[in-house]
Structure formats: C-alpha cells, structure tokens
Symmetry: C3
Subunit: 163 residues, 3 copies
C-alpha cells in the first residue's frame, strides 16, 4: 500500500505542470478575453468562479489565493448594480466563500471557508461566517495569506510524521 | 482587445437561444417527468437543483428567478419528512442559497446569495444569512425580484460607461 | 403522466445497483489509494468531497451519511496545519456543509444543511448555521442520523398519500 501511495504522489507531482498550464490558460481567458484584472502572481482553484456579467469589476491582487468553489460577484440583478469587487494583495479566500458585489477586501486578509462577505474588510483581518464578521485584526500574514508561523508549524508536523 | 470583447459579446448573444432551449427542456423534464410545479414564466440557472426525492413538493411561482447553484429541498431523511417547499411570485433566490424543506417564501421576496433559509419568509421581504434572517420588509420589487429603482440605477451606470 | 412517473421510478430503482457500485468504487479509491478511513457501512453522496491534501486525516464512522456537496477538510494552508477531522458513528452530515480541519463530530449527531462547522460537536447534538451552533442536545437518533420517530412520520405521510 505504501508503495501505491508513493507512486500516487509521484504521479500527482508529475501532473503539476498540467494544472499550472490550465490555471494560466484560465487567467489569460479571464483577463484578455473578459477584461478581468487577476494579477499574474495570484493563484486560484480551477473550481473558483469569477463573475462574467460585469467582468471588468473583478480584481484580484498579487500573491493572493482564491480556493475551491469561491464565487466573486460583481453584479446584482435585483438592484441593477454593476460594481467593482476587489481582493487585495497577500489574501487567502477560503473554499466555498462568496464575495458579494462591491466588496473590497484589504491586503493581507484571510477569509474563512464558506464565508459570505457582504461588507468590505480592512487590511490584515480574518473574517468568516454568513454574514461574514471580522474575527481578528492586525494579523501577520505573507504571500497567499500564510501566517508568519505557518512554516514552523508545518515543519514540526512533518518531522513528527504527522503530515 | 476591444474588438475581441465585442465579438465575444456578439457570440454570447447568439448563444442565448441555446440557453433558452436548455432551460425550457429542463423545466419540461422537471414538470412533466417529475411532477414539479415550476411556473412557465419562472427562470432558473442551469446549475440550480430542485429536489427529486419528493419532486411534487417543488413549487416556483410566476416571474421568479432561481440563481446559480441554488438547492430547493423537499425532504429530510433524518426525520422522514416529505414537505412542500414554495417560492412565491416575483421572487429572486440568490446564488448558492439553500431553501430547506417545508419553507414557504412569500411573493416579491429577495433571498441573499448564500442564504440558508430554515423558516418561512413573509411576502415583500429581503432575507439573508445562515440561518437566514429578515433584513428588510415592505420592499417594492417587480418581476424576478427586481427593485423599483433598478432600471434607473442601471441606466445611469451604463450612461457613465460603468456597466 | 402517472405511467411515465411509475416507469421513471422503476428505471431509477433499476439503476440503484449502479450507484452502489460507484459509491463502493469511490470508497475503495479513497481508503486504499489515499489512506482515508471511511467505514464500510458509511454512505456518501457522489458529490461529497473529502480532502486529499492530508488524506489520512479523513475519518467517517459506521452508519454515518455524508450528503450532497459536503466538504470534509483536513488542512489549512494559511497556518500550515494538517489535522484529523472525525465524523462519529450514526451521524448525518447535511447537504452543502463544510467540516473544517481538526473538527470532531461525536456519535449520533445531525449537522444541518449548509452548516460550516468550525468547532467540535459533542455526541447526540444537532448543529447548524455558519458558524455552526448547537441547536439541540441529547437527541435520539439511530443509523444514518435518523430520528427515532422518523419511520412513524414517514409511514403516516405515505399512508395519507403525501410522500
């Protein structure tokens, strides 16, 4: 079994270049053909969806990560609104969350999984819930919303064979 | 680039009839084969899902709109319940929301994106959140839950070149 | 029309063995190839997703049911965490809910549709919402989180021709 799993991991690592190509193709498609503003260093899950109804309203900053099933919205049919929705730099947008039209998420923010963000979030905050509330502020995160102590935590887990 | 985008818009407009056919086919499939009650003037995203476990319990009223990824549920396995879930007329059910079994949403309601609606909502209300709460009442919306001032708002945005 | 619906039901019942095979194949794939711990008697929707980034952290107990679109997470990129997430026995995890990394859900629990479970839930509780809160405790459920009175409720509905 252990061999199987190693082989599987090798197989997945080999496929990383494919994922990379697909992400770049999707970014190109969104930015060039639709006029979105997704920074070249921003990363996103292939299941994340950006609102094409008002595509120029989508902004994702440098070194930000948009996780699985996220939806970034820029229009509101019920009010006839077409708004700019902005994700700052160094943000992490948790899986399954919805960013509503007109919301601005400041730099260095972490949005929890499944959050529905209805109001703007200032820089360096953790926000989560539906409606999303600010749970922490003045946080210390770097690229892709990674906390300053994340590397140390991860190394310790790997050393103890727990990751 | 601008030409590309115009061509893309033309292309999409040409494909509208295809979307129309797919929506009508899905409505026919749900109503005739499954016995649901989705009004001929109701609109829905192709990613919205209606509960087939107790299909006759699905009711969507005239001129209502069911947005992307919505789930309308009519059964509860844990309690052995099979209930009628009703969306009134002129409603807008926001993207990604869940309407729980037995809930009745009155006419002229707007349900926010990502809401989980656990209790019935009286007519002319905005409800959102998880669990959904009533945020506004006595609202003034027309077909597809569009606010009375939406057309004016949209025209102003288009005029200023912002939409 | 009634004949159509009966034929449809017969058709679906005939396809049950196919669903069964697909679920077993997915369980095998997750347990053998990825090292997850999904009990042979646990049931899950084919749209449910279990976190493969730290696959050995996924635990689903006997006679538990994981409904449509559920996500069970075991890692947190922002903190460098890889954690064990445990669903107990006789649980029902409602459709569209997210179980966050490190959460432990006790035996005989019911998690409401669309819940985002951020903290552990003791045995015999109903939890729902985002963030999930405990709504009831000391509940009386059996396999697949089914309430003790569910069979009686369902039989009564069927008798009255309402299900």
């Amino acid at each position: 079994m252990a061999e199987f799993r190693k082989a599987r991991k090798r197989g997945l690592n080999r496929l990383r270049w494919l994922r990379r190509i697909l992400v770049e193709a999707k970014r190109l498609y969104y930015n060039r053909l639709w006029g979105m503003d997704i920074h070249p260093t921003a990363e996103f899950s292939l299941s994340a969806k950006f609102d094409r109804t008002f595509a120029p309203g989508v902004h994702v900053g440098a070194y930000s990560y948009v996780a699985f099933d996220v939806r970034i919205l820029t229009h509101d049919r019920t009010r006839g609104l077409y708004l700019h929705t902005r994700i700052g730099k160094n943000c992490f947008i948790g899986g399954g969350s919805l960013i509503l039209p007109g919301v601005e998420i400041g730099d260095n923010c972490v949005i929890g999984a499944g959050a529905v963000v209805t109001r703007s979030v200032p820089p360096r905050c953790v926000a989560a819930g539906n409606p999303a509330r600010i749970l922490r502020s003045e946080i210390d995160v770097g690229p892709y919303g990674r906390f300053a102590d994340a590397d140390a935590t991860e190394s310790a887990l790997v050393e103890r064979g727990e990751a």
